[in-house]
Symmetry: C5
Subunit: 354 residues, 5 copies
């Protein structure tokens, strides 16, 4: 997380609206996929260079332009120019460290949020910023990395199945948002599994390693929380949007994805509660174990220290020690020792130490 903060400083001192890409450099070439569709018609093209603006004047079709990695500053700037985007919007698209937000610029809405995907079995979270521009008959999507997260949506358009091809640009934007929120649940599940594994480990054999993993899990939760919480406001804002860009029928769907986000937040908070409960249990267990260790030490020491003292006394070399010459001195001392130990054991038993 601190990592994501660092990048900003590259921009300090520059005038507002300066176009600087603050993320890691990705592939050599950005891929721009253009899909134009209406019911029954789908046109698809991939362009790698953008020298001239192409018109998307046909109001009956929806045009979706998907830019696959935003580190090509000129390309993004050109697109922004073509679609008449505000300089601050282009700046924010390139600045891949945005907090999820929704901005209404009259002719178009600017939506930015984070997609999360899981890598590997232990779920090392991958994250990328996604910017959407929703116009009356077009959607621009800018992905930070070359991920395949929107592949299924494109597939659905290609095959002409589902509501997407029958609906407007707002439904397409909803589909993209829905895909991203669905991915949150996959991440949540993996976190849930790690949580359960940790809980079992806590019961069976709590170790220092468990502690470290609790810490890592907590970090991941903090990160996830930071992505999901503001998205809720974004979706709430979209539902209440007065503009004509979002139709009433799509708002029902937006309410659904809003509910999903609430659900995800709910699960996150539950996880947080459970982790803090686990930390309590861990600390208590540690103090329990310490107690047990100390009891063993104390019992052993308390029984043997007096006995050792007695044997020490009769190991002294004084010339005049009458007991040493007694016929039954040795057995008597052994008996004394046995008596002392028996009393000690009885005392600990009464104290319920074992």
């Amino acid at each position: 997380m601190p990592r994501t903060v660092k990048k900003r400083s590259l921009k300090a001192g520059l005038p507002p609206g300066s176009l600087v890409y603050v993320g890691e450099k990705g592939a050599a070439k950005a891929t721009v996929t253009v899909v134009e569709y209406k019911e029954g018609v789908v046109r698809e093209a991939t362009i790698t260079d953008l020298t001239e603006c192409f018109p998307c004047v046909d109001a009956s079709t929806v045009t979706w332009i998907d830019v696959n990695s935003v580190h090509h500053v000129e390309l993004v700037a050109k697109l922004g120019e073509c679609f008449g985007l505000h300089p601050l919007v282009v700046e924010d698209i390139l600045n891949t460290d945005q907090r999820p937000k929704l901005e209404d610029y009259g002719d178009y809405l600017y939506i930015v949020f984070r997609a999360l995907t899981c890598n590997g079995s232990r779920c090392s979270m991958e994250t990328e910023q996604i910017s959407l521009i929703l116009g009356s008959n077009f959607v621009l999507s800018f992905q930070e990395k070359e991920s395949k997260i929107f592949a299924r949506v494109r597939e659905r358009i290609r095959t002409g199945k589902g509501r997407t091809v029958k609906s407007g640009a707002d439904y397409l934007a909803y589909s993209l948002l829905d895909t991203v929120v669905d991915n949150y649940f996959i991440v949540l599940e993996t976190l849930g599994e790690r949580l359960e594994a940790l809980e079992d480990a806590l019961v069976e054999n709590p170790a220092a390693q468990t502690l470290r993993e609790i810490h890592l899990l907590k970090r991941d939760l903090i990160f996830l929380r930071r992505s999901v919480w503001p998205l809720r406001e974004v979706l709430n804002g979209l539902q209440r949007e007065d503009s004509t860009l979002v139709t009433e029928s799509t708002k029902v769907y937006l309410r659904d994805v809003y509910d999903h986000t609430i659900h995800a937040i709910d699960s996150l908070e539950t996880f947080r509660d459970m982790i803090s409960s686990m930390l309590d249990i861990y600390l208590s267990s540690a103090s329990n174990r310490l107690n047990e260790v100390m009891k063993v030490l104390t019992i052993i020491a308390t029984i043997f220290i007096p006995l050792t003292f007695i044997s020490g006394v009769y190991g002294m070399n004084f010339r005049f020690m009458p007991e040493l010459k007694w016929r039954w001195g040795y057995p008597a001392v052994l008996l004394l020792m046995a008596g002392v130990s028996a009393y000690m054991l009885y005392y600990f038993k009464k104290k319920k130490w074992f």
Copy 2:
């Protein structure tokens, strides 16, 4: 709890409105009970298969269709079609991992919440999702499992006692909600009893087992909380509903069940406070016990270690040790030892160590 999150991922990538049942598979056959009543008239039927829609046009009667386990996707889809439900509603009925919510679709209200029941003396909580569709003269109820939670309501209709048969569909929906909230109190009581038992155990003999049970109780509370809190919003929404589906006279009753929910939340928060207080007490007791153990060890060790040292000195084999030949050397050393111990005991007494 993490378990409930897992199921969602089955749906990731599918288009919105896809009908997938995410719960556990239940009985082979779903049972659909249809009850149609007005004052003085009660008709009841059980159908196991639904091939054609049946009309419920008689505006003077109320029709209640209770589906007993929702894992039969086609049946639910068919019912949804018959009553003109929005695809997202049908999807949510099948997706048995919803957060309690209320949605107004104009012609009907969609209400979803969780019923909780206690199994066995230690109250292993059973939970199921219940979806209600409240129309002008019908109520559809979808239960996740084959529970008997609504049996009493049906009984009351059959016998014609109570207000239900005299009132409309909204009162029936209220009765079902009221039954579910009443069950929360039974669960709360059992949790309260476990809490009291734990509190006694904490006083009498705090053990590692106590800690684990505190943890389990806390988990159950987190789970209960997650079901009850959002229900409060649902009921608040129902009371404020502008539509003609909920009559003014029923709103008085809804206010009552709303108050019950607030009461349940109140008790839950009290339990949470008490559990966190118990954890504090547990940790403090543990540190108290450790203190006590350490004191015993320290007293024993501190008294005997110097004595053992003295006896060790006179156990040395130096040829020239004048004390060893003294007539009263041995008694003198014993006296010295007694003196040292007495001083030690006095010192600990002064420090209030015992």
Copy 3:
């Protein structure tokens, strides 16, 4: 507290409006005191049975009917019938586990809250539910137990002193609320005294007993909190009541008792803060004491263990140990021992261990 939750389950499954008394059974007979008054005129009667409704049509007088223990279901039901109370109100009067609330039924207001009284010097809190029905010219009050909490109000009416006899039913209701809130302060004071005593004990001699009493005090605070917090909303609601049942001049007085409630809540929160601070101090003191004990043990052990080892070496029985035959061997060893101890003491002094 868990106790109070238990009772509810008696009602699960019954139809709404079922009249079941959920409290403990009290005296054999309920006492109903009827006071009718206007300025200069006071009529008082005690009835133990209610077979017929008596009219209270005289709009110029105020009628106060005080039912002293509500476990006589028929009597309460009859009264409810006479005054035309909603079934849910009668149910709530009998269900003595209500959360404080205010409900406006048009013709009358239903107010329910809890009275707290202190018993004995250690203040074992007594609690009872009180229900008020405020009509245009009558007040019904239902007390859960046979307490004397309203005796002084009745006395004031009898003697004709104070504003009560000159004012309407709303002022009477205010007087009863004011009496109850005044009693909260007595309970708060006793809790404050216990808190101070605990704080002194914490300074002088923190023991396991102190911990238990902190826990008990915290429980009492949680309970008190649960009674006082919702009362605040009730009084706020009364002040904002639009109906003609509460006059403007009485609202000034209601604002006053509202301020008292806020004040009580304020004190409660302060107590909570102080108790949590005391727990911190307790835990820190415990760890301090453990530190001290460990230091004593460590100092004693660390000084004597090496000395004992030295004496052990010269207690060995090897035939060829030249030191044993030296003339000054014994004094030399004693000197060595003194040197070692001196160094150890210097080391601990430097470490500021004593």
Copy 4:
């Protein structure tokens, strides 16, 4: 703080509006200072007894009546009668345990708050309740104790300097409030100094005394908080007051003192955060010190216990122990002992124990 709660119980059971002074008894005589001023004219008088009301009809001048200790019930009651105050206001003036509040009675505003002053270098906080009555051309101020807190304001009026003499009664009320809030900052500074001293002590030599002082500081903060927080609402209310009693030009000044209060609250919260951080550090340091002590004990014990055992073995008196007769037995054992210690030291070194 619990102390302040106690007094209330004197009033339980009395009818509302009963005049009872609940504070400590002060000086024998209350001092009433009357100042009447307009620009260029200042009349001042001190009266000790009030038998008749004096008119303050001259609308062009401002009359300030300052009562220096409110425990003379009759005097306050008489003043209340003269200025037509509501009985509850007079009751509240005498009840010196009010929560800061603002009440609008139409003709006048009633403002009550607490003044805090520091006594001595260690700042034992003195607190008193101050009640202000702000009329159209008069201000009544009631101080609980005989403090000199308003002396400077009176001085400014006398000398005719500043805005006060040129402005109305509302500006005078503002001046008094401003004086009180300025005093909060002096108290805050002293608390800040104590906090810094504690922080230094925490770094240099954390002792049990430090803990106790943290606790005391926390108590003082809780107390201060209780006085300052509600004052914020009071000042916010004054700014939004619709009545003609507060002019627009004075509202600018009230906003300023409101900002000061926010600033004081801000500092208080910062102090709270820092104190809770200090407690964490204290606890962590304690556990660190315990660790260090235990390590020393463990190292010493672990090195010498095996050595002592070895010497014990060769101190046994068996007749047949071949080693005892070996020529190099003794040096060999010494070597063995050195070897064991060396290994132990190496082991601890590897474990980074010292």
Copy 5:
């Protein structure tokens, strides 16, 4: 932080509007830079003394007067007089311990906030108060110290690049705010780096030093928080400002810097969460290490104490101890000892102590 509170007390007792500079004295001379610009025209002047007001009546140009250290009371007072500032504004400019706030005085807005800069590699935070007066065609900026924070903005005006020279006074004010918020991110980054370094230290070798640095980092965060949080309200207020001083096109930019502030707050809260998580880990690790140390001690002591006792028994000097004369006594005892140790080791192994 307590330091910043101290200064206020200089002003206690003074009439409102008194001009007292409460900061540290800076350079001998204040530097006042005057920049007057419109598109294509930039006039710049430095004045060190201000005896007469200069007019800035030319409505087509923007005048920016930057005062570089505010401790010259007369100069600031004179400026205030020239621009007709309210006495409270001038007082606040000099009182360099303000909470960030926005005040609308009709003709001009008064904005005050804190700039933070990092000094050195370990980022010892420098802070200064900056006051802005935004009029229709002028901006006054008052810096507490002689910092170069606005140098780049002046440079941009001089070169005529960027939007600034083409826009009005509101855009200039925005540029200054944006510069300050950009600097927050540099501070945040340095804090993030310290946090990461601490986290690594926590994993590798947690020491008492780590604890202290966590404490210091927490202090810095508290301080930063105090500066950033209220700025958010300020910027929110600026965006919603109704006056003509802020144009619509600048509000888009203000929304952008508002978003940056939200982002900074977000990061701050994440840091706080992570630090509190680190403290938990630190405490848990400490208790883990204690456990480990205690186990080593217990194992060593528990194994050797019984052995030492046995050797002590056979070191006693009783005349009649048959074992001592047995031929195989010594080897038998050694075997016994080996057996006892073996059992102990097995016991600890079973308990999973090592």
